[in-house]
Point group: C2
Chain length 147, copies 2
Amino acid sequence: MADPKERVQSIIQKLKGSGHKITPQRLAIAKILADSKGHPSVEAIYDQISGDFPTMSLATVYRNILLLKSLGEVLELGFPDGSNRYDGNRPIPHPHVICIQCGKIVDPDLESLEEMKAEVANDTRFTILAHRLDFFGICHQCQAGEK
Amino acid sequence: MADPKERVQSIIQKLKGSGHKITPQRLAIAKILADSKGHPSVEAIYDQISGDFPTMSLATVYRNILLLKSLGEVLELGFPDGSNRYDGNRPIPHPHVICIQCGKIVDPDLESLEEMKAEVANDTRFTILAHRLDFFGICHQCQAGEK
DNA sequence: TTTTCTGCAAATGCTTTGCATGGGA
DNA sequence: TCCCATGCAAAGCATTTGCAGAAAA
């Protein structure tokens, strides 16, 4: 996991470099994403910031996530039921393990994905540009007790 | 790829066995899904059937897909932008290769996924129940010409 | 001072749902 | 005949957009 502080700096650089202003709301969003504790949802980000910025709008969260995505500083984990989650700590595609009970999302260590990509490219004659790999299951805590 | 005719039969059996009626609309949807040419979207299914059933409703397509999903006869490939696709030919989770230009979806041959699943389970202490693996890229036709 | 950003509310677009009618078995 | 299924329209929801005022730089 990358150092959250460094990630925030990197994001700020990208923003400035592309002619964007650093507003307090934007910075707050960037900080949460750089940390990406548990891969937050839009709601989670919004709720967390609402304490400091009572007038904060959901639209602002959406707009900034969109911006950071376009700058390649945030990875979107989109789900069809609208429960999207975000990772600004490791913005490059990587596998995720998702607890279908408590919603926790964990990054596993996996090596063999690159060779798999090569195999697929060779097999299908596609030029592979990106990928998405999710495992769904029950985490250890949820198996143990109701918590 | 499974034989579409056998798949239709299998789906019909599941429907009857669970006390559901075989209506013309339902049968038409089942046939298209059993074939799953290019992994159709709801719209694609709807459009294809509209010719034979001018009064066909989108709601009916949605309701039947929901039903077939609950019976385990259809695999849903959900995308956050609402461009969901369906596979009633191979309803068990398997990798997909998606052309981001023309939308084509192909099933590659991949073996190493099972061991990867075991690795993840061991690594994270999750009980893995399902997975989703998509590769995104440009297909051979789209690379060649505009088509 | 200029240009971008924010907040609010209205608009979107896919999917689901309520209800009355219609059609399998 | 008895229910389940369909069609239509309205409702839901996450996300996007238009606009006017606020605030970076």
